[in-house]
Symmetry: C2
Amino acid sequence: MIHSARTSPRPVRGRRPEENPIPPLRFGVNYTPRRGWFHSWQDFDPAEAYEDLAQIAGLGLDHVRVFHLWPLLQPNRGLVRTTAVDQLARLVDLAAEVGLDVMVDGVQGHLSSFDFYPEWTRSWHHRNVFTDPDALTAQAELLRTLSHALADRPNLIGLQLGNELNNLVEHNPVTVAEVDHYLDTLLAAAREGLRPGQLATHSAYDAAWYGDDHPFTPEASARKGDVTSVHPWVFSADCARRYGPASLQVRHLAEYGTELATAYAVDVDRLVWVQETGAPEPHIPAAEAPEFARATLLNAADCTSLWGVTWWCSHDVDRSLLDFPELEYTLGLFDAAGRAKPIAHTLAATVAELRAVPAAPQPRDTALVLECTPGTRSVSGPGGAFFEAWMRLRAEGGRPAVVLAERAEDAGYLAARGITRTVCPV
Amino acid sequence: MIHSARTSPRPVRGRRPEENPIPPLRFGVNYTPRRGWFHSWQDFDPAEAYEDLAQIAGLGLDHVRVFHLWPLLQPNRGLVRTTAVDQLARLVDLAAEVGLDVMVDGVQGHLSSFDFYPEWTRSWHHRNVFTDPDALTAQAELLRTLSHALADRPNLIGLQLGNELNNLVEHNPVTVAEVDHYLDTLLAAAREGLRPGQLATHSAYDAAWYGDDHPFTPEASARKGDVTSVHPWVFSADCARRYGPASLQVRHLAEYGTELATAYAVDVDRLVWVQETGAPEPHIPAAEAPEFARATLLNAADCTSLWGVTWWCSHDVDRSLLDFPELEYTLGLFDAAGRAKPIAHTLAATVAELRAVPAAPQPRDTALVLECTPGTRSVSGPGGAFFEAWMRLRAEGGRPAVVLAERAEDAGYLAARGITRTVCPV
């Protein structure tokens, strides 16, 4: 279907609960264990995890996104390790103890420049993780197992297939149709154990939105799974370098990403999760990080389709761990010694403010028309004509939505989104 | 030096200890954990390991060779996991409890067709594990750590760099000089913590001996480290298929490999460890495996330079674990349910027999002269002219040694080895 059956304008967040069925915005953090980063799964210590999670909860955040490692979960194609699954369940329970909900990413896969593949996909056993039928079946089995093991946790938000699976494209060539089959198969498996209201989702890094001919499409991001995940990083397409760390383009990037994702959705009620955003140095100098974080949250909260924002990340990577790209060492709200950084305080204050006086976004009645093909989607990324046109409207005080050209004359669709005017980029 | 200062013929094993300083032959097994194969390190259970080791000791064997996994030992270039090192130490102690000595292989690396590389050497972080200076430094640090952690165990035989490191050549191109530097660097690191009498060794699969222009050379195998490891597998160069599973060539393969390795040594007292041999189906049909094992041990024991024989392997790989080459599932002395197979009984009986009435090999006074270059060393492998000439002499009842052509006229060297006659292959 092109749009929901509901014909009235969608409810607006920020009204009192009794008038408004839309749940409040969610604010959380991607959990990067302070001691040992994700290698800590190899020596999982519930007390250490609890300490990290309690710090996160102390900022007033409501959820974490967590990541196990594929080679530890499924070291052989025929073996999903019960111990590893139990660890994940334990982590979800520990989060519950401090009042945090949890989104679990299944197949990692890619984390902070490292690709974690089980040995049964590598070297003499090389398999394309997207297209090899046995590799697909095995990943489905892993997600099915996780969904059955975790679904009874009341604080489980849901199950995501894995973190930015499209980072694996470089070493696992794949077509659009193969990606679609992969995502459909794994989402079905992830859903098997989940309960009503729990989310099955997937995620991709920005190439899905801005990368010409990238096999993960905006359509797959915006139409598969229960919400659309976006990871609008300021280093993508050199956004911060191009426009400056305190530029309008940078501070409205998450908002823009949310509106762009909304344009690709079929269901007009589809929500968009700003699932990763962060302040990577030197793209965002440390001194400017707090204000960047505050602006990112406030501007994204101005989107009616926003599900919530999950900051990357909770804890800095300890310098004793080598080979991370430099920017990965300082992305935490807490440093490697566990001390809250200025950005943590600002983020906490902004979240508290948005909870006390929720944003009241109105439907955006003016939409910029996006005309592009799979091979020209970079127009919608930083440096692209469409991106810059949207940002110009924003700079002029407009609050533009985005519509795809193919729907720009669909009156029913536009009405359902509350769009009364469409504008083509000059 | 070309040969040892000792000018008398080397002592002969089998005489009574007071007459003979050479220690008795060692017989052991490569330990493949019954439950979960080497993935069991991720959930190390001392009770299960103890049960496996007690079964092995019950066969009358005196040692095991054990393998941890590189990505678990050193998941980040800057992190050697204390827990993993402690597990290895615990395993050595468990072996001591049942009277087994232990050789520890450090960098795995390659095991039964799977390559276990840490993520910091793969994908976006690709490093050549042989030539990248930081990768070399990290492996040295791992071996140094292991040697310091394990050296105080009285039942530690020593530390080997890793299992068949030359299996990694295919994906890490390397020259002879680079291999030599790699081995020298890591052997020095492994020796740092070891005590007098403990061995620092390395190992390679048969390409080192038979593979034309393979960068791991026979010289490196026979001259670096404290003993020469050979892994004379009957599938190498199609030996069993070429000559038949019960052929003389197959049953004398370990003996031949020992003599070939002895030829490349500089120290005439250098010992050779038949560190891996086994009865892979269908190369050796299961019904013929016991007799193959018996013949292999008896024939190898007829070499004066033999250190011992370590069978591959202790336990069958469970069929629930997928993607192993078919032959890997049935190499155990015990099946996946823990039942001793016929080959286990035969091996145990043969070991008992060799202990009760030790073999009494005499110096081999006739030597076949090996003339080959790095690019023609396949002459000394199954199917090669030299190999076949040696086997013809053996079939005629001879007990030929091997000398390199470059030393065939070195009277002192020949005398030190007890060689009185050299023969060139026809």
